[in-house]
């Protein structure tokens, strides 16, 4: 279970402090899948980083009683100057994994071939997404935080992601952030909308989506 209690996050900006998340409390149980909708800049990725433990809330508390992945996004978590293989080695070392086995899996999943020996900065967006996704699948977590993995890559990549995440790991808890409403609807059982620092929960997708559309078209 992940529990967020009165989580508050403020970022200092030139124009003064900006409240990104205001007094958010909820729990994500084992096996539960929560979809998060919200406009650009609503704080979705911040929420994922806070839940992962990579970032600390300004006040409030996040408790993890199960193993939680880092936010699986197509950027981040990589060192661009290093090759794909070196990144796999680095992450294997941090999480104490057998890196030889991981390399085999990554090579097979990404189909990057010789590119794995080139610096990540020379990769296309789609290649990066493939690598990022494969690397996050080499470590088994109880909960995956998924931040827009479906936004890049081709159809074949999407199919393989589906298999890895929702077939092989269908029993895990997930927090899914996406701008693709269909993707969220299909995979989640509970929904939340982030807007103006508040997080509202909906058991039903249609209600959540309606609220999200209202926020999208709100002016100001």
């Amino acid at each position: 279970m992940i529990t967020a209690e009165h989580v508050h996050k403020i970022y200092p900006t030139r124009a003064g402090d900006r409240v990104v998340l205001r007094d958010i409390s909820f729990a994500l149980a084992r096996g539960e899948k929560l979809g998060v909708l919200g406009r650009n800049g609503a704080g979705k990725s911040t929420l994922a980083r806070l839940l992962s433990g990579a970032e600390r809330p300004t006040s409030g508390k996040v408790t993890q009683d199960m193993s939680v992945s880092w936010p699986l996004a197509f950027g981040g978590a990589f060192q661009n100057a290093l090759t794909g293989l070196d990144n796999v080695r680095f992450i294997s070392r941090i999480y104490r994994q057998d890196y030889q086995r991981n390399i085999d899996f990554v090579a097979d999943f990404t189909e990057l071939g010789l590119y794995l020996k080139e610096p990540v900065r020379s990769y296309s967006q789609g290649m990066r997404a493939r690598l990022a996704f494969a690397v996050s699948m080499i470590i088994e977590f109880d909960c995956y935080l998924i931040d827009e993995v479906s936004a890049v890559g081709d159809a074949r990549f999407h199919e393989r992601c589906e298999v890895e995440l929702f077939e092989k790991r269908g029993d895990r808890a997930m927090l899914i952030i996406s701008h693709d409403p269909e993707y969220v609807r299909r995979h989640c059982g509970r929904f939340a909308v982030l807007h103006d620092g508040d997080m509202l929960f909906y058991p039903d997708f249609d209600q959540a989506y309606e609220a999200h559309l209202r926020n999208l078209h709100e002016t100001g």
Binding site: Y11, R49, R56, G75, A77, L82, R93, I94
Partner: protein, 264 residues
Amino acid sequence: MPSQLAAIGRSAQIQGRVIYALLMREILTRYGRHNIGFLWLFIEPMLFTTGVTILWTLTQSLHGSSLPIVAFALTGYSSVLLWRNMPGRCIGAIQPNLALMYHRNVRPIDIFLARILLEAGGATISFMTLSLFYIYIGWLDPPVDVLVVAGGWFMIAWFGAGLGMFLGALSEKSELVERLWHPISYLAFPLSGAAFMVDALPPAAQKYALYVPMVNGVEIVRQGYFGDQVRVHYDLLYMLTCCVVLTVLALAQTAVINRGITPE
């Protein structure tokens, strides 16, 4: 209590793993796999030290003692590299590594420690290799007391590590640290004891020279190297205090930036 100890043990294990991973990564990003790769880690300081040794030999630098110039330059300049490189690498170390902080076990202190270990290791290997080489070709007599050399070297390394982590953490808050470090480290070189023996200074100045922490460390190293050939002056307690105070400040500042980090 035992479970608390076990938890600390587990944390220490994770931290060790993270620092090792960062160390390997750092070596790769800095030196790559071209030409001699990570050998540069100590070849570079060796070139520096050798260059300075040659220059000082040619110019017959006045160092106010009867010591062979090679030994004098080796002990002096190696010490400078030791305390100066750690802050140099810790300042601005967090920004380029923000992406790695997506992994919750990678924290600013790990990045500092990895860089500190790498710099200290490079300077130490360089110092040892050059010493052995100079001893082998007969330019240098073996140190009188290796343990004393190691003790002085350790004090300088500790000072550099504390200073490095402190300035590294401060540089996250203000870029002034980076701007000012270059001139200050440059100006501190002649004051650091690398190019003089305290005994050669006028008695009135000796007291003030020992207020510079590094000077004490260099004097200890030289005592170990030359034994009774030289008269050294140092205040170990003073240097120890400086190191402890710096370490506490460094850890406190690192804890502060740890709370404010935003991975990108």
